[in-house]
Subunit: 222 residues, 2 copies
Amino acid sequence: MPRQQQQAARPVRRRSYDQFCANARALDSVGDRWTLLIVRELLGGPRRYTDLHADLPGVSTDVLASRLKDMEHNGLAVRRRLPPPAPASVYELTERGHGLLPVLAALAAWGTHALDERRPTDAVRAHWFALPLLRALDGLTHEGVVEVALNEGDFHVRAGGGGAAAEVYGFGPAERPEVRIALDAALCLELGRGDVTLAEAVGDGRITVSGDGPLAAEIRGE
Amino acid sequence: MPRQQQQAARPVRRRSYDQFCANARALDSVGDRWTLLIVRELLGGPRRYTDLHADLPGVSTDVLASRLKDMEHNGLAVRRRLPPPAPASVYELTERGHGLLPVLAALAAWGTHALDERRPTDAVRAHWFALPLLRALDGLTHEGVVEVALNEGDFHVRAGGGGAAAEVYGFGPAERPEVRIALDAALCLELGRGDVTLAEAVGDGRITVSGDGPLAAEIRGE
DNA sequence: CGGCATCCGTGACGATACTG
DNA sequence: CAGTATCGTCACGGATGCCG
């Protein structure tokens, strides 16, 4: 027999911490390398395999495929086939998977303090700054979609609502944003850290706010 | 040369995600297997190597030693020698390491929903229920130390204060607790999930509250 | 061409044994 | 008690191949 079947429904040998503890159980699901970063990508909305692979520099193809299977198996994500006109499939978070938002928000808040300079080997994507920025927008009372333009690219976030919205951020420009802001990545991080307030950044001209609704006014500090 | 030096100050080859992203940087520090569970242990206060090893069933000695070195190197923990009368050393979290409390709290909240039955292979320690329980005590206005008695053992937590206290929980009985409560682990989890309120649990007799201060009264729902 | 599966070299992990 | 040494195994990362 040159090769027997290589995976009979995931050969039971999943590695578990075997601890009756909420943290350990959580890490059984999301503690593997790359898993939380895949969740970070999917928090921006459904994505195709190839796009995921492109925005996760360093992950190998087989590990990405394996993690996506694990996430499906653990109920974090589902694979959905798009209608025939475009024969592709996307991965998207389940409600359970979306529940990881507070975890990634806390982790981002903690990690922002360690994110000082960009090393030459570091990859960058614009939407990686969505979570730090969302932290700065968390206190806003008005709700709406904010389109964000960085040097690295565009994305959009939903301000207000306390992260309760189904889609908390997305890739590229928004369809009909209430506000557009332009700033640089370093300022995103400072805002996330709380080193600078929105009002100060507006006053210093480090951020440009365009729009005339109440949300825009609130961001300007009016 | 039979054997050259085998670690010249950690041979620089640390595995990094190499992404300019707060989450990726955070996971560079705490994404390795066992690291966050070591933090979970150290959140209860300074601990000796052997005690850590005993409360982390499944970790091998070399991996534990290696993680502790990494954590020291990353500024999460320090090793402190105890005074000569007891020639031992303990590991304790730095302020930076303690800053992971919101991460573990969010992770525990998420993981509690996946923590249904105890599997036969699962290890258990009483203080592993501190974070879920703290979530239930988070809304209390009065502050103080609560001694908790489970079937699995005792620990204590500091209620109120919103987790701002330096030591958020500890092992074994407290020195002079304001309140003592007795309940079982399953109820800890239900409280953490919000399936049951403290007042309901008191009313059902599933939790026993002893003490006569304002905190005890608040826990009783008076 | 998107979505993986296979092969392979290296490093991380887990168990045990051993040492100051 | 507090780790280090050794070793087998498995997971990861990179490249390539396959297949609808």
